[in-house]
């Protein structure tokens, strides 16, 4: 193999694939990045057997070939090279990669590409297409609600359902549920329901940078995998086996009290309450008060702990329905308010033991596009 690439491109490619490298694996080759020439470009791949990321970068290829380079060493090296062309040539017999850049000359011990787990090629011609910017927003609005506890693997995933030109992402960790719907860029006849690891989606949101591009999604039959492909990046993830809880029945259909308030003011109040609540039980008390016919109502958000003290914030709000005092985990509130983009947000609930529902409010938001359910906390006394 003999190739020349731009340092900038190589560094960028390595930063994309390095997230799938597993440095502590029992399989030493998984700590390496596969480099292979591929139809006039250089292909970089890394996998931890659950998640695989491939990235193609432009290269001048003099001789085809492939090898695997130690990810850590190579990334550190490339990041310190000067911003010019990097020439690489492989001695196949000794599996030594010579890297030259300006005055720098390096010989790097590699592992034969034969040992790298095969990354099967996927036909993406009949895949579903969605705009990168939209998919990124969808992912950010649900992944945080997925569980991080390995005891219930199914909840560490995000349920993706595709039906009639619409795609829905849903994640739940047992205490909250986030559901986001969107239209597909291309309509597809078949419907899909699969649970994708939340981590894989987070990585996808991170590496898919160009918002105007389209991302293509394929689930090859019988492989238990999902493939996301943009122009020069491909992400392959194992799907999670199992049945995702039927979330539709969890979503409350009725409410008694509805408060509409400023998202940013609510978020700020939650951030302040969290400073005090995090020492104790993470409880934020939400006191929804409809003051009178002609005055605006208010929502009081408070957090307290025995050690640090207490904090209250009053946010003006439009209230429908009776007054209510309800408690939520303040972190849950903060995390969902962080991803709501509209200036106003609605909080709907019925009693202090019924679930609370948050949804964005605004003309540009389609009904039911995003909704988030949080189960309340019960106060001691």
């Amino acid at each position: 193999m003999k190739v020349t690439v731009l340092q900038e491109n190589l560094a960028h490619g390595l930063s994309i694939v390095s997230r799938a490298v597993s440095p502590r694996s029992t399989l030493p080759v998984l700590a390496n990045v596969l480099m292979a020439t591929d139809e006039g470009r250089l292909r970089l791949s890394a996998t931890n057997l659950e998640l695989g990321i491939t990235c193609w970068i432009g290269a001048k290829i003099e001789e085809d070939g492939s090898t695997t380079v130690p990810a850590r060493t190579f990334t550190d090296l490339v990041s310190t090279l000067s911003d010019r062309e990097v020439g690489m040539s492989l001695n196949v017999r000794t599996q030594t990669l010579n890297v030259r850049c300006g005055a720098s000359n390096t010989d790097l011990k590699c592992i034969d590409a034969q040992e790298f787990p095969p990354m099967p090629a996927v036909d993406t011609s009949d895949g579903l297409q969605i705009k990168v910017s939209e998919l990124k927003e969808m992912i950010q609005q649900v992944v945080f609600a997925a569980s991080t506890d390995d005891a219930r693997p199914i909840l560490t995933g995000v349920l993706m359902t595709v039906k009639g030109g619409k795609v829905t992402l849903a994640a739940a960790d047992g205490f909250r549920l986030s559901v986001r719907k969107a239209d597909l860029a291309s309509t597809s006849g078949h419907s899909i329901s699969a649970v994708i690891p939340a981590r894989a989606l987070s990585e996808l949101a991170r590496i898919a940078s160009d918002g105007e591009q389209l991302v293509t999604m394929v689930m090859p039959r019988g492989r238990g995998q999902v493939v996301f492909r943009t122009k020069d990046v491909e992400l392959v993830s194992q799907l999670i086996d199992g049945t995702f809880p039927d979330y539709e029945q969890i979503i409350p259909t009725k409410f008694k009290t509805r408060a509409v308030l400023s998202t940013s003011a609510f978020l700020k109040a939650c951030r302040q309450a969290e400073i005090f609540a995090r020492e104790g039980s993470h409880i934020a008390r939400i006191n929804i008060l409809a003051t009178g016919e002609l005055q605006p109502g208010s929502v009081e958000i408070s957090g307290q702990s025995e050690e640090t003290g207490s904090n209250q914030n009053i946010v003006e709000a439009t209230i429908e329905g009776p007054n209510i005092l309800i408690a939520f985990n303040v972190r849950f509130l903060r995390e969902v308010l962080d991803v709501i983009r509209t200036p106003n947000v609605a909080l709907e609930t019925s009693t202090d033991t019924a679930p609370g529902m948050l949804r964005p409010v605004g003309a540009q938001v389609a009904d039911g596009e995003f909704l988030h359910v949080i189960m309340p906390m019960h106060l001691g006394s």
Partner: protein
């Protein structure tokens, strides 16, 4: 005092003491009679945990009018006639003592009708005095009612355990017989509520579910082995399912439940090296062998037997267990582990490389201070005035056990913190330390109801009957802890909310771990039980070994530990820290002469 022959009443009460020691033993004797009478349906009714009423009804062969008065005499039996028969016992009973013994300590009513008789007969015995028999209408079979057990032996009454315990013993006993006789239909009613109902269709796994819960019953492995004179069937747990005690190991020899240390040893031998130290399997095993090879006439309650050729039986059993285990034990799957795992586990001998570092020797030299509360410190709480309050705090606290201000040095092996104090080096077990911190925090908040987090969907938990009963008893306390649990069927529960502290973990597993292996007999005090439950919650919620902590988290844990009342042990009594004094370090480095 002159020596006298005891009156017949006293003599029979003494004899009864050997056979009938608690309600469960009455149930056992009556049940065995029913089974010996070849009944296909046995219904048992218990009231007042067996003290008020034990009623066993069967559809067996019945007792004829002429035999009935003899049946309640001592040493009266139909099961044996010559002394030779004693060595070929094929029935469960043979001593002829059961009915007489029960009759002498309770009010006994026997109603029976054999198949060939037109009417049944009834006989009443009250504290050993039988009244004349009377004819009554009765279905074929025998009904024995035992009322007011031990009413004339107050000493015995006093030694009965709590009602729930007695009920649980009866549950366990009947369930085990139901397992041994799957073709017999059993109905057990405790306080007018069905506790066990089997179909009698011969399916043992169904009954196993009643004993251990559906989940665990499903995991149990089948054992089936036969050689020319012994036949072993039954169920054993896979190596992943274990208990901290041996009580769930049950053996039946020729249909008779026996306790035999040697059989249990053979079972454990079969599991050798597959189980952790201190863990025991669950097993229900049925051994069939020719009657002349076992001697059952060893123990009044027949709980023990002697084997004619013990070695052959033990090797046979051990082999059968091992084969079943190896056939079913899967190769552990390769899984991505976040945990720090050394490539070569440290060899246990490594400590002996340098004798100066041999921990055992050094600690004998007084230099090392392994800061462990001696066992003596745990005072028997119920003897103290205000014992309950003491028990609530877990272990008694001593003012001088507080740790000094510590400076964090770092984390070792993702499991231990290293810290420096004014008097030397401290090694702290992060899991045990966190457990202690959580425990004290919980206990200080407990007078109030703790906050809890509701679940999106309630989780259903299916528990074995014994655990279910315990859980039902503790529901009010669990509600204070933050568990909102509702009963949802006899042994099924709905978890609606969990303590905030456990919000990260599987709610069903959290609840199950709370009551699993719980010993209600060990501590009669409710306060002590509550402390135990809290300790379990803390154990579950505490950060595990193998979890990397950020420096801030490490520092927070240290300062929390400094604030604890008794920081040196975890709520289960294991040490949280080891202290290496400056003095010891200096000696070890040869800066100061060895003493």
């Amino acid at each position: 005092m002159p020596i006298r022959i005891l009156s017949p009443e006293i003599a029979s009460q003494i004899a009864a003491g050997e056979v009938v020691e608690r309600p469960a033993s009455v149930v056992k004797e009556l049940l065995e009679n029913s089974l010996d009478a070849e009944a296909t349906f046995v219904s048992i009714k218990i009231e007042g945990a067996g003290q008020r009423l034990i009623e066993v009804t069967d559809n067996g062969s019945g007792i004829s009018e002429t035999e009935l008065p003899i049946a309640v005499e001592r040493h009266a039996t139909s099961k044996l006639s010559t002394s030779q028969d004693l060595f070929h016992i094929t029935t469960l009973g043979f001593r002829g003592e059961a009915l007489a013994s029960i009759g002498s300590v309770a009010r006994l009513t026997i109603t029976s009708r054999p198949l060939d008789a037109d009417v049944g007969t009834r006989l009443k015995v009250d504290a050993g005095h039988s009244s004349p028999i009377e004819p009554v209408g009765a279905p074929v079979g025998t009904q024995v009612r035992v009322e007011d057990l031990f009413y004339n032996v107050p000493a015995r009454l006093k030694f009965l355990k709590h009602e729930t315990t007695e009920r649980r013993l009866i549950d366990n006993l009947v369930t085990r017989y139901a397992l041994a006789y799957p073709q017999v239909r059993f109905h057990l009613f405790q306080e007018n509520k069905p506790a066990l109902q089997t179909s009698g269709n011969g399916d043992r796994r169904e009954i196993l579910a009643a004993l251990f819960g559906v989940e665990q019953a499903r995991q149990m492995l089948d054992v089936l082995a036969q050689d020319d004179w012994m036949h072993v069937t039954g169920f054993i747990s896979p190596t992943s399912l274990t208990r901290s005690h041996r009580r769930d190991i049950t053996f039946f020899v020729n249909g008779r439940p026996v306790q035999d240390a040697a059989l249990a040893a053979a079972l454990l031998k079969g599991y050798h090296t597959l189980l952790m130290v201190g863990r025991y399997p669950i097993a229900v095993l049925f051994l069939q062998m020719p009657p002349e090879l076992v001697d059952v006439n060893v123990h009044p309650a027949k709980a023990e037997v002697r084997f004619r050729e013990p070695e052959r039986i033990f090797t046979g059993l051990q082999g059968a267990i091992r084969r079943a285990l190896l056939a079913y034990t899967p190769v552990p799957g390769l899984q991505a582990q976040l945990r720090w795992a050394p490539e070569n586990p440290p060899a246990p001998t490594s400590r002996q490389i340098d004798p100066a570092w041999n921990l055992d020797q050094v600690s004998a030299r007084k230099g090392w201070q392994v800061e462990m509360q001696p066992e003596l410190d745990r005072q028997p709480t119920d003897e103290l005035p205000g014992g309950a309050a003491h028990a609530l705090a877990g272990q008694p606290s001593f003012p001088d056990t507080r740790v000094p201000i510590l400076r964090l040095v770092g984390q070792v092996a993702n499991a231990y913190l290293v810290a420096e104090g004014p008097d030397g080096l401290y090694l702290i077990d992060q899991h045990a330390a966190h457990e202690r911190v959580l425990f004290e925090r919980f206990m200080s908040q407990l007078p109030e109801v703790l906050p809890s987090q509701s679940l999106l969907q309630p989780a259903t938990v299916d528990l074995p009957p014994a655990n279910a009963r315990l859980l039902t008893d503790q529901l009010p306390f669990l509600a204070r802890l933050g568990f909102q649990v509702e009963t949802f069927g006899p042994h099924t529960f709905l978890v609606r909310a969990v303590p905030n502290l456990l919000a990260g973990s599987d709610p069903a597993a959290a609840l199950r771990v709370l009551v699993e292996d719980f010993e209600e007999d060990e501590t009669p005090l409710q306060a002590e039980r509550e402390a135990r439950l809290v300790a379990r919650v803390c154990k579950r919620a505490a950060v595990k070994a193998g979890h990397a902590l950020s420096p801030d988290e490490q520092r927070a844990l240290l300062s929390d530990l400094e604030a604890c009342q008794s920081p040196r042990t975890c709520p289960h009594g294991r040490p949280t820290m080891i202290h290496l004094s400056v003095d010891l370090l200096e000696r070890q480095f040869g800066r100061r002469g060895a003493r």
